[in-house]
């Protein structure tokens, strides 16, 4: 039990920045560049952690609490999701709901700390961030509901092992639909193309980056690490969904987790390299489309003689 918790903490602490590194490396390769080192994100975080802080005179304690609370709630959500093993330290019957709401709680505080400086740019970012996550919330729940219905449970542990992985795919295209919708949510929630461009540095076009414009030093490190952690968690969710491989062996589990997350990273990088960013006014439609895809999946699950 103790070992399990330590293992979970270790993965949560050290793997997410690597995940970002993989994506950036893949994107660089796809563009024909050499790209930053695989561990660049660790260096960035280390550099930020060594810095001091500059705060706006307008800001209150919410500005500094935002990064801490959001990181803590994402980390707490990380304890709920099974990573390398089939169970997790904080897993319980019904944990999917708490997982989603903890992520929302973290987002709530990031949004507030964005508004705290009174900057119009950050207000703009918060407005967009809030709107887009409001649209991705139903898509997320709908696509998870597909899995829940097959597993007859609202628990990650049961949902991931509802189907033996050999019969996946063609036999259960419903899962594919769920994965597609979840992938769209993953892209939108983690500010990737086609919703947001992590590389852009123009205040007017950004969503996530513009929300944290006034944060610096350790605060920014918390935010960046927190968002990589959230990205990693949602990628793990997708991995477990696509490769429901029951594993009680820790080494096997970690191996397969790495392979899966690596795969998701490559997928994200490919999408980012191949697809153009959509107009901001089209983003809700992208997410509504994901919801409707998930609804299609649900209809299929309820349809008599469903595939």
């Amino acid at each position: 039990m103790i070992l399990e918790i330590i293992e979970q903490i270790a993965i949560l602490l050290f793997v997410p920045p690597l995940f970002i590194g993989i994506i950036n490396k893949m994107k660089a390769w796809a563009a024909g560049r050499k790209g930053a080192p695989l561990f660049q994100f660790y260096f960035d975080l280390w550099k930020l952690l060594k810095k001091g802080e500059v705060y706006s005179r307008t800001a209150t304690w919410i500005f500094t609490a935002g990064p801490i609370i959001s990181l803590a709630s994402i980390f707490c959500a990380g304890f709920i999701l099974p990573l390398a093993l089939s169970s997790s330290p904080l897993g319980f019957k019904g944990d999917i709901i708490l997982f989603a709401y903890l992520l929302a709680f973290g987002h709530f505080f990031i949004l507030l700390s964005a508004l705290d400086t009174g900057s119009s740019f950050e207000g703009m970012g918060a407005s967009r961030g809030a709107a887009f996550s409001a649209f991705s919330e139903p898509a997320f729940f709908l696509s998870l509901a597909i899995l829940c219905i097959h597993a007859k449970s609202v628990t990650f542990k049961d949902v991931f092992h509802a189907l033996p992985w050999a019969t996946w795919g063609f036999a259960h295209p419903v899962y594919l639909v769920a994965a597609l919708a979840l992938f769209a949510v993953l892209l939108a929630e983690n500010s990737r193309i086609p919703v947001d461009d992590p590389n852009t540095h123009l205040e007017l076009t950004m969503i996530h980056e513009v929300m944290v414009l006034d944060h610096g030093g350790p605060d920014l490190a918390f935010i960046l690490y927190g968002s990589s952690l959230k990205f990693f968690l949602q990628a793990v969710l997708l991995v477990h969904l696509l490769l429901p491989l029951p594993s009680t062996n820790w080494y096997f589990g970690i191996f397969y987790l790495f392979i899966g997350v690596f795969g998701v990273g490559i997928l994200v990088a490919l999408v980012e390299s191949a697809v153009a960013r959509i107009r901001l006014s089209r983003v809700p439609q992208f997410l509504i489309g994901a919801s409707i895809l998930a609804v299609l999946g649900l209809i299929l699950s309820f349809y008599k003689g469903a595939p």
Binding site: F170, V177, I292, L296, I299, L300, Y303, A306, P307
Partner: protein, 218 residues
């Protein structure tokens, strides 16, 4: 393989939704081409296990014909008229895209509902055939009604026809494949005529907005 067939049909339904939601003309046409390609494999996936060798040739012919006509020739023709008529690349729906997407979702739900009620004399070979066909027909109508450009009308017409094509698959055993090929030919001619018409209309009037066709009447 029923599961393969269902998989293809699912792709067809997803593409229907994608076409409704896309705001760009060439995305629409490309997706239609992809749908045609997916449908080309459908007869084969449905029937190859039970087909006699004579019917096998028919299956292959239908597949090949569908592929060539629906995913190569027709898109090529449409793209040519887009190019020549110098059409703007936006879809220009008369109702908002959110709303059309929502309507399409309602149609999907309705199709599955109808499919679970309707009883056929012989049970359909794959469970998704009937809903997918309904979705195709309804979404095709939706596109025909809610889009203003002649090009999107053609796309709507194609989707509609794809829906009917899927229905036709239930009757493969009864229907000689010549009929299917004949339909394909009709379709091709139809698109050809529409393409020519679009060209002429745009040359004459500088636009291809179907809402303004009523100006043509005497």
């Amino acid at each position: 393989m029923i599961q393969d067939a269902n998989f293809i049909l699912l792709i067809v339904i997803v593409l229907d939704l994608y076409i409704v939601s896309s705001s760009r003309l060439d995305t629409c046409v490309n997706a239609t081409a992809l749908q045609g390609a997916a449908l080309a494999f459908l007869p084969f996936a449905l029937w190859w296990k039970q087909a006699s060798s004579g019917e096998m040739i028919g299956l292959l012919l239908i597949g090949a014909g569908t592929f060539v006509v629906k995913s190569l020739l027709i898109p090529f023709l449409i793209f040519r008229s887009i190019r020549e008529a110098n059409v703007r690349r936006e879809v220009e729906p008369s109702i908002s895209l959110h709303f059309s997407l929502f309507t399409a979702a309602v149609f999907v739900a309705g199709s599955f509902w109808m499919a679970s009620i309707v009883v056929f004399p012989q049970s359909p070979p794959a469970s998704l055939i009937v809903p997918a066909a309904f979705v195709g027909v309804l979404v095709g109508f939706l596109l025909l009604v809610s889009r203003q450009k002649a090009i999107t009308q053609v796309v709507g017409y194609l989707i509609l026809e794809n829906g009917i094509f899927i229905f036709g698959q239930i009757l493969f055993k009864e229907l000689p494949f010549i009929v299917e090929l004949g339909i394909l030919l009709d379709l091709l001619v139809g698109v050809l005529v529409m393409g020519i018409a679009i060209n002429h209309i745009s040359r004459q009037f500088d636009h291809i907005d179907v809402n303004r066709l009523d100006e043509l009447k005497g």
